[in-house]
């Protein structure tokens, strides 16, 4: 079936099987490799993207539901050369170890900060339930607080 949507600000119109997970359309058809496959069961969060601004697990999101939506992946998080506050904070706090799961964490965090600009530790624990096998959660929490600070102060 033909599916049309905007991804990272660019209109796309594709012929794909409607039940294909959007993750594979993003990675294999559009060649945007930043979004990762982790568990394939919407559990780990490595595949998190934004659909109309909401955090979504793309491994469990049928491509047909993307029709007419605005999709954002980690590649579209920054505005041109200006890094997103989450990206700045991730660099400052040297968050990643192996890095595989980090795009999912960053997309989930960006979605959180849109709605909860100054999240508490509990807000972070309750909302950001992605999994990092390198156990970088401690640095992730610090980076989320730093990202909130950067975003609030427009640093």
């Amino acid at each position: 079936m033909k599916i049309s949507f905007n991804i990272n600000g660019t209109p796309q119109s594709l012929e794909v099987e409607g039940n294909t997970p959007l993750l594979w359309v993003i990675r294999d058809v559009l060649n945007l490799k930043g979004t990762k496959f982790g568990c394939g069961k919407a559990a780990c969060g490595a595949c998190t993207i934004h659909v109309d601004g909401e955090a979504v697990r793309s491994c469990s999101f049928a491509a047909k539901f993307a029709e007419g939506k605005n999709i954002t992946t980690i590649e579209g998080l920054s505005s041109g050369d200006d890094l997103h506050p989450v990206q700045q904070a991730w660099i400052e706090e040297v968050v990643p170890q192996c890095g595989y799961c980090q795009p999912g964490f960053m997309m989930a965090t960006a979605a959180l900060l849109e709605k909860v600009p100054d999240p508490s530790d509990k807000d972070i624990d309750d909302n950001i339930v992605n999994i990092c096998r390198c156990a970088t959660h401690y640095r992730i929490r610090k980076a989320i607080h730093r990202a909130a600070e950067i975003q609030t102060n427009n640093i």
């Binding site: 039940n19 997970p21 394939g40 069961k41 919407a42 559990a43 998190t48 909401e54 955090a55 979504v56 697990r57 491994c59 469990s60 999101f61 049928a62 539901f65 989930a108 965090t109 979605a111 959180l112 709605k115 909860v116 624990d125 309750d126 909302n127 950001i128 339930v129």
Partner: protein
């Protein structure tokens, strides 16, 4: 002799008829919560069976898992707390960055095993069924203060037509590819039972 037997038969019919009419006499009673409850001395024919069928469905895990008594939905055949610490949130759709729609879409996803249906969400807390008896659930269903102000007709419509309710008979597979258990009554029988129960005046038994 024949006349005597006919007379006795007529008397028996009269007594039997009176007994039946008393047995099925129903009285309406409105309690302090505003719930109009039909209290039955016995029930209209078929109403008890219809109630039993309806409640066998409404007390099933496919329904109760998302009618929890607190802020945490349950999931699975053993009704464990939903993984990932999922919470109700302000609008019953989860937390700001962990919405139901983060994972659940308009239909089941048989690749991931994540179930889905339109308006996937928790029932509001006032519609909590977890831990309630059949009678308490039935009273809750009929209570406008707890059922979104629905009339009996609207309640029947919700129970028999809403896609999220009827999802229970198409629950898909879990993350391991194992089909989820369906309610113990076939969908058509359940729908018929709800309508029969409502047509009989929605009588709620004493237990």
């Amino acid at each position: 002799m024949l006349k005597t037997n006919l007379f006795h038969f007529a008397i028996l019919l009269l007594i039997g008829g009176l007994a039946l009419s008393f047995a099925y006499t129903a009285s309406s009673d409105t309690d302090a919560d505003g719930v109009t409850e039909v209290v039955t001395n016995g029930s209209p024919p078929g109403a008890t069976e219809a109630f039993d069928k309806m409640m066998a469905v409404l007390t099933h895990k496919r329904c109760v898992n998302c009618h929890p008594s607190g802020d945490r939905p349950r999931q699975g055949e053993d009704s464990h707390y939903h993984n990932f610490g999922v919470r109700r949130g302000a609008d019953n759709h989860g937390l700001p960055a962990l919405q139901c729609e983060t994972c659940h879409q308009q239909e089941n996803n048989n690749f991931s095993g994540v179930p889905g249906a339109p308006e996937w969400s928790l029932a509001p807390l006032r519609m909590q069924w977890e831990g309630l008896s059949r009678v308490e659930i039935a009273r809750s269903i009929l209570d406008p203060a707890k059922n979104n102000g629905r009339s009996l007709e609207e309640t029947v419509q919700h129970l028999t037509e809403h896609e999220l309710v009827l999802w229970a008979w198409e629950p898909g597979v879990d993350a391991n590819g194992t089909p989820r258990e369906k309610p113990p009554v076939p969908k058509d029988e359940y729908i018929q039972a709800v309508k029969e129960w409502a047509a009989a005046g929605a009588p709620i038994p004493e237990k």
